[in-house]
Symmetry: C2
Subunit: 322 residues, 2 copies
């Protein structure tokens, strides 16, 4: 969590003048987002988030992300809405970087989500998938099954430094998932990173979804599997069947899952666990000595992967498939 780029008031004011949002009243660098520099901006017309995209986000992908947020907002999804400048564009440049301004969303993220929160999340995820159905742009998921071997190549040799025999486990899991990964399931826009810190609540009511910078075109139920991992395990890594049931059944009430989607859920959940295990492992092994930011623990996702390896069917997640 950091602000990477420091921008002078004079520069921000000149940038804001290109938008019809009133005078710049204040801006503060906020400690949010690992990938970009974010500023909370107050203008005569309200609050906005100004984002400067740093090198880890591919500039070519920005039109997809911004157009997606516009599309979803127009379909009633509460997400940051890109603001158009006077030239009608959502993407500009500030301090030598691509930059965009989006509406500010009120809300708080919940550190220890309850089953009530999981219910709200399941419904919001299904609505997101439905709202994205007619989004015309496409972006491949570089972090799905086709991308995992490359991640494994970057960290496999050193994986045993983190846990004994981890390299062999990763290799076997990767072989299995590459062989059995399901084809032909319903596809569409997925968020792909809908962890609790990207979901805002006011009280028990879900008030917004943020951070669409991993969004892509992929298997919809894979997004459900990512959320199952991110929302339904306890701090001790045990699966909470009440939260799982809450998430899955509320999702299915809004967007019913096919028999094939229920059937493949355990395999997709293994895939989702492997994806975060691999990326966390790469980050963990890449940390320079003495760094201030400690990356997220990969072992958390190893535990989740092992849980899913033992799951026989979706009913182990707490839901009886129709």
């Amino acid at each position: 969590m950091a602000v990477y780029t420091d921008v002078a008031a004079e520069e921000v004011a000149a940038f804001i003048a290109g938008y019809d949002v009133g005078e710049l009243l204040a801006y503060k660098g906020i400690a949010e987002g690992v990938e970009n520099s974010n500023f909370l901006v107050h203008t005569g017309r309200g609050s906005f988030i100004l984002t400067l995209y740093e090198r880890r986000v591919a500039e070519a992908d920005l039109p997809f992300f911004l157009a997606l947020m516009e599309h979803l907002a127009s379909r009633g999804i509460t997400c940051p809405q890109p603001v158009k400048n006077r030239a009608g564009q959502t993407l500009g440049r500030l301090a030598g970087r691509p930059a965009a301004m989006v509406t500010f969303l009120d809300g708080l993220w919940i550190r220890r989500p309850s089953a009530t929160h999981a219910t709200a999340l399941g419904e919001a995820l299904a609505r997101l998938h439905l709202a994205g159905a007619d989004f015309p742009m496409r972006r491949d998921n570089a972090l799905s099954v086709a991308g995992w071997r490359q991640l494994y190549a970057a960290c496999g040799e050193r994986a045993d430094q983190v846990q004994h025999d981890l390299k062999a486990l990763l290799a076997a899991e990767l072989d299995l998932l590459e062989r059995d990964w399901p084809q032909g399931l319903p596809q569409g826009v997925i968020h792909a990173d809908l962890f609790p810190d990207n979901v805002f609540f006011l009280g028990d009511k879900l008030s917004g979804l943020i951070d669409f910078y991993f969004a892509c075109t992929d298997t919809l139920v894979y997004d459900v599997a990512i959320c199952l991992n991110a929302w339904c395990f306890e701090a001790d890594h045990s699966y909470n069947v009440t939260k799982g049931r809450a998430l899955l059944s509320s999702y299915a009430r809004v967007r019913p899952l096919s028999a094939q989607e229920w059937l493949t859920l355990p395999l997709l959940a293994r895939g989702a666990a492997l994806r975060f295990l691999l990326t966390r492992l790469v980050d963990w092994l890449d940390v320079p000595p003495g760094a201030l930011v400690r990356p997220k623990d990969p072992v958390e996702y190893l535990r989740k992967l092992r849980f899913h390896q033992k799951v026989k069917s979706a009913s182990d997640y707490g839901v009886t498939a129709p």
Copy 2:
């Protein structure tokens, strides 16, 4: 610039519930202040800054700082105004730390202040000194002449690592200032750290003063000397006589300086330069290898000190003393 303490929404909401400010709608850790953790908070009643005081601020001093902001705000100075909780107190506890909430001030700080900004600053500083005249509390300035020998002891031996012969220069300057430091000048509340990043503007109009955590009871014109150093030198370290004249004459229009104050200004400016040279030197020499935050350059203040050593009278600053 960092947020040191991470606080969960649940904790912030519970803290905010102790105040009559409406429901917590959002909070963001902001990259502001080196000493404390600061959050920009949105509630049903508006925007606030929530500060968690970290170890570098003495808890015993907090009542002084908070009462001072209340006092100044009640006298018409635009500064953050501490909010009282339902028990009538401005100081509370959050995440095991002393914590306070103050009103949010709109405004931007100016990286390259002009003479117009220096004029506004001079007037605001004088108004601050007048408004503080009847503030009943007292806090000694640990970073004035009586505290410098201790700072010198902490960095003098290694000073020559930064610049050849710096140790000898510091020793001689310290001897001279300890011997000649003026007594009996008008005293009162001084801000003691009124650098451009602590002064907000909207356009050319000064909109607020922030960060009173170095405020103390000391010689008023010493505060003017600190501002002369902080506002009236260019990036190449040369003194800008137009800005100096602007600051000093606008200050004196609101609070006229006595003949004795004008006379001692060059010596006080040397002292102000030595104070920031010493503290920056301590920070510079204390940085662990590989640290992400680069401390401020002490040499900037060595150049300012050398300028003031050659000044013969206040007229060298651009103002003819009455």
